[in-house]
């Protein structure tokens, strides 16, 4: 049953990645683009985990952890640049 559900879940997450990419490219303000990039990283984590179930390996979960970390740090850095005009003061 998992083997039947996995391609469907991957398809749904691919659709959601495309929607995030649309908001990232089109977003009227800079904050919309930052929000799209943040959501893109969160959905990329889910795609990596589904690929890990598909390939039956847990090695690539380190990449998911790294993407989660870098996505959060990047979001905070970009919004801090927007608010304060500087990242590290």
């Amino acid at each position: 049953m998992i083997a039947a559900v996995l391609p469907l879940a991957l398809l749904l997450f691919s659709v959601s990645l495309l929607l995030n990419l649309y908001r990232l490219l089109r977003g009227p303000d800079l904050t919309d683009r930052i929000l799209g990039l943040d959501t893109l990283s969160i959905n990329a984590i889910a795609v990596i985990v589904l690929a890990g179930i598909y390939m039956d390996t847990t090695i690539i979960f380190e990449a998911a952890l790294l993407i989660a970390l870098m996505g959060f740090v990047g979001t905070v850095a970009m919004t801090k640049y927007l608010v304060r005009g500087d990242v590290i003061e």
Partner: protein
């Protein structure tokens, strides 16, 4: 690797529900009219969907693999801690930049906030102009950005 049937069905349901919820959150990100509404979809629905997917993966690798896999727990805890923080920081940046809100917002943070034209499915200007601080007739195409 022999997973019992009820656990197989539970993992499949978790993966499918997570994918559907995350896709709904992304649809909200793509289709909501202004930034403050767009912030709701990804920060709640996408986090819940990815959390469901992580729970399914945790169950799968705990049963099929060797022992409990710790990385999913780590990723899930990190996501659930950082999602409200990043949402709050982005909302604060948008308020600082004075990103325009929808014309149907009941109490805008400042009266001079310019209103972009609402999409026709959501536009009912009779209700929008009853508020004390909404300025009627202004801001049809005066969308000035911060920089």
């Amino acid at each position: 690797m022999n997973i019992p049937l009820w656990l197989d069905a539970l993992i499949a349901a978790l993966l499918l529900i997570g994918a559907i919820v995350a896709t709904l959150g992304s649809v909200g990100l793509a289709r909501m009219p202004d930034f403050y509404m767009r912030l709701h979809g990804p920060t709640k629905a996408c986090t819940l969907g990815v959390g469901c997917t992580m729970l399914g993966s945790l169950l799968y690798f705990s049963v099929a693999g060797q022992g409990i896999s710790v990385q999913e727990v780590l990723i899930t805890v990190f996501l659930f801690v950082t999602a409200p923080v990043s949402a709050h920081v982005m909302a604060r940046a948008a308020l600082h930049r004075r990103v325009a809100c929808s014309a149907n917002t009941r109490h805008p943070p400042w009266p001079e906030m310019d209103h972009p034209p609402a999409p026709p499915s959501l536009a009912n200007p009779g209700e929008a102009r009853q508020g004390p601080s909404s300025i009627p007739g202004e801001g049809s195409d005066t969308r000035t950005r911060g920089s």
